[in-house]
């Protein structure tokens, strides 16, 4: 077994709405999350001020971020801000399904097309 680092991507397609399980992904190996970032194409408008994204290990029923990441409406960079990986829930098993949950959207309901990127450590057991 070796350990290797990689970047996993979750893509939020089109206009973003509040809801769980936006983009499920089965993890190919056991591992753990290190950092989470992302970018959004359209920030959206209105009160509510942000699109909030959580990464959730659906198999283990655990949120991976202790502080959700936000795409602020007034962001100058279109980058995900404030996401904090919870060291107590960052580990996952082979085959766990991890999904992007959208917890909030701006008042204009017009934020769209985002990519969530997570740096992960894998334990590769088939090499």
């Amino acid at each position: 077994m070796i350990t290797q680092q990689g970047t996993e991507i979750w893509t939020l397609v089109g206009v973003i709405t509040v809801g769980d399980g936006k983009w499920p992904k089965a993890m190919p190996y056991a591992g753990e999350f290190v950092k989470v970032g992302g970018s959004i194409n359209i920030l959206g408008t209105g009160a509510g001020t942000s699109t909030d994204v959580q990464l959730r290990n659906e198999t283990q029923a655990k949120d991976i971020l202790s502080t959700v990441g936000t795409f602020e409406v007034d962001s100058g960079t279109n980058l995900l801000e404030g996401a904090v990986v919870d060291p107590a829930t960052c580990s996952f098993a082979k085959g766990d399904v991890v999904q992007a949950d959208v917890d909030a959207i701006p008042g204009g309901a017009d934020s769209a097309t985002a990519v969530i990127e997570a740096v992960v450590i894998y334990f590769i057991d088939d090499v």
Binding site: M1, T3, Q4, T11, W23, P24, E32, C90, I124, D126
Partner: protein, 238 residues
């Protein structure tokens, strides 16, 4: 006490001490009584020590079991902040034990592990096909920057579609199919994840090969849409 793991499994007998020893500097004197100091760019050595509270035979037995017949293993230990783990690939020497001066002695044991950067390394590629899917070869393509081997393929579909059948995906280099069983996005899927895919045991590709996603089938409603295919490779150049 820190947590020490081998291949992501904690040891029953935890070590008392873990130390990272960087490669020794090379010092060359110069004619002007000065020195040139060279820091080798080689990985460090990890020293793992079991103290007096861990009996030598038990530690050896556990290490022998965890090592098995594999030379390279991943070790992990608790970071300085106590919350996260450090991870390192190491060459794991064969473990043995001899009879010392006194068989009942509780000894201190140190295991020296050479850290390595394993080759080939992991390479993740996401191929994204937006919009309504139709049966076709090469709907998304990727030029391999180095040779490699595909370890695993998975995927997520945004809209499953309707009607009989499902969306079926093959990964190929235009000539060779890498999935001995193609991946399916079944219309009735509760997860929207790819199912049934089996990667060929010899799924190798060369530098410059064009890896492509082929849509082999779609549901009768012809309305499945927007798919991401994740390809996990070992890259022969990192």
């Amino acid at each position: 006490m820190a947590t020490f793991k081998i291949d992501n499994v904690a040891m029953t007998k935890q070590p008392s001490h873990i130390e990272i020893i960087p490669p020794r500097q090379q010092i060359y004197p110069t004619s002007g009584a000065n020195k040139i100091i060279v820091q080798p760019l080689t990985p460090p050595t990890i020293e793992v020590r079991w103290g007096m509270d861990a009996t030598y035979p038990e530690v050896v037995a556990e290490l022998k079991t965890k090592r098995g017949r594999d030379l390279v293993h991943a070790i992990s230990w608790t970071n300085e902040d106590g919350a996260r783990l450090k991870h390192c690939n190491v060459v794991f020497p064969e473990i043995g034990s001899g009879i010392g001066p006194a068989r009942t002695a509780v000894d201190v044991m140190t295991l020296t592990l050479e850290a390595i950067n394993p080759m080939p390394g992991l390479l993740l590629t996401t191929l994204f096909a937006p919009g309504v899917l139709t049966v076709a070869d090469g709907v998304v393509k990727w030029i391999a920057p180095a040779g490699g081997r595909i370890l695993w393929v998975s995927g997520t579909i945004y809209i499953l579609g309707t009607g009989a059948g499902g969306t079926q995906i093959q990964v190929s280099n235009g000539a060779t199919d890498y999935l001995t069983t193609p991946g399916d996005f079944v219309v009735a899927s509760g997860t929207r994840l790819m199912e049934n895919q089996v990667v060929a045991p010899d799924a190798y590709f060369d530098r410059g090969d064009i890896i492509e996603i082929d849509v082999d089938a779609i549901p009768a409603g012809a309305d499945s849409s927007t798919v991401s295919i994740y390809i996990y490779c070992l890259s022969f150049e990192v």
